[in-house]
Amino acid sequence: MSINILAAAFVLAGALSLPGRAAPSPSPRELLQRSLAVPSVAYEGEMTVSMLEGGRSTTREVLVRFKPPASYRREILDRIGFVVFTIVSNGRVEWVFDRRQGVAWKGEPADPDYKLLDPDEEIALLNENYEFKAAGAERVADRPCQALDMFSRRQERRLQRLCVDAASGVVLSRESFANDGRRLSDVRFLRFQTPARMEDTVFDFLPPHGTRVAASRLKPDYLRLEEAASATAMRPRLPEWVPPGFVFESVNLLAYKGATLLHYRYSDGIDVLSLFQAPAHVRLDFGGWGAERRVRNVDLGNGRAELAFHPSGKILEWIAADRFILIGSQSLESMRRVAASVSGSPRRRGAGARAVPAKTLAGRGGR
């Protein structure tokens, strides 16, 4: 009898103590840190990348492999499951292989280590502009994950929902939302696993016989303004106004058919605003976009600009002695204001105003 009572008491005590022993839900900060860190385990899987635009949806399937610290392989499939594009990097060299054209481009992978903004400053910038809230548990690719909603502090609206794999910290799904709450994109794993072993050879690429190999122009620089200015005959002209929360990070030099373009990069920790300055004789070619280009004129106050839409953002192009191209996903009014504030616009030419980044790292008390 006493044994039964003891057993019942033990079971009861165990039951009562269960909530206390269950792993507490991670805080938004923990989830964010988990998703920001480079995964410590290799993973592979299959995912869908869906873009929802103007009532239409385009979905691509991608085979994904990753091995820390920075090796990745992406194979983009066509509708019947053949690989059409392969992107492979072993952390030092990146290959983009277009199977249909039989062309492989060899370049350098994007590497945040060379950026002028250091990782702590970047995270601080992200937290300054965005707020994260835990949104409960979900299952993606048959794995438990913790949802995290990302809100803009200025616009007070939800921008993204991430679901972070509880075990590895990998983002298993990511949805992005428009101003009115519509879903703009949905990227999610259908299958996900963390194999115990993954060979390094997976991340090597040997162009198939007959492939034309070319060097990629995308070799990013992270230059200070003075360094970039000395590399071109153009006088760098930056906007005097950028959207709140954005800071000037660095300049990239882009060479094309004998012309050198300056690429000024601004970031708010999540979003990017790119301003390109090119000699006036460089014209923008929208190529195969055809009717989807949807260009319209925009009044800058001191001139006119052309606006075009691209799945990656809006493109605003104008000429003010040099040619300028602004790419970003900000509101049209913000982009118009950035363009109108570029120093040395026709009305103010000769005023002697010197370009100064609207908000620099130094302005934030950074380096």
Binding site: R235, G258, I325
Partner: protein
Amino acid sequence: MNCPDFEVISAYSDGEATPEEVRVVAAHVRECESCFLRLRSVESAKLALRRVPAPRLPRDLRRTLLEAGPGLGDGRAAWRRFLEELRAGLLHPASVFSIGAAVVAAFLFWGRNEGLLTPRIELPADLLVAAHNQYALTLPLAPTERILTEMPDQIAASVTGPAEGRGVY
């Protein structure tokens, strides 16, 4: 690099710059291709104008003026005569040529500034989008999969016939 104002370059070309401006411009144009071209453009325009022969007074106008002497009759008649002679003068080949030369010189200078005279370079918008996206990949929480899925299309679209040795590469 601080480029001198156009007025300073023009003054330099005219020999009217101050010694300090001469020193600055002479040193600057050796380093700055844009200002060198601008100076060359100013000098070519001036040279072109200098080569235009000075318009000569039409013979009949000259005769009329000499015959009229100091008293050219009443003001209205003189004004009418002046307009007629001016019209005749403007239609003179030398006048037509000099006006044409001035227009061409102005166009050359303006066109150079606006990039209309340099061979046009067609820059694929996709290349710029790819550069924009490549930077986006370096951000924390970058939508890596979406960007990497779009990027090959952008790189491919920005290539115009690599087999012919043209295009991005």
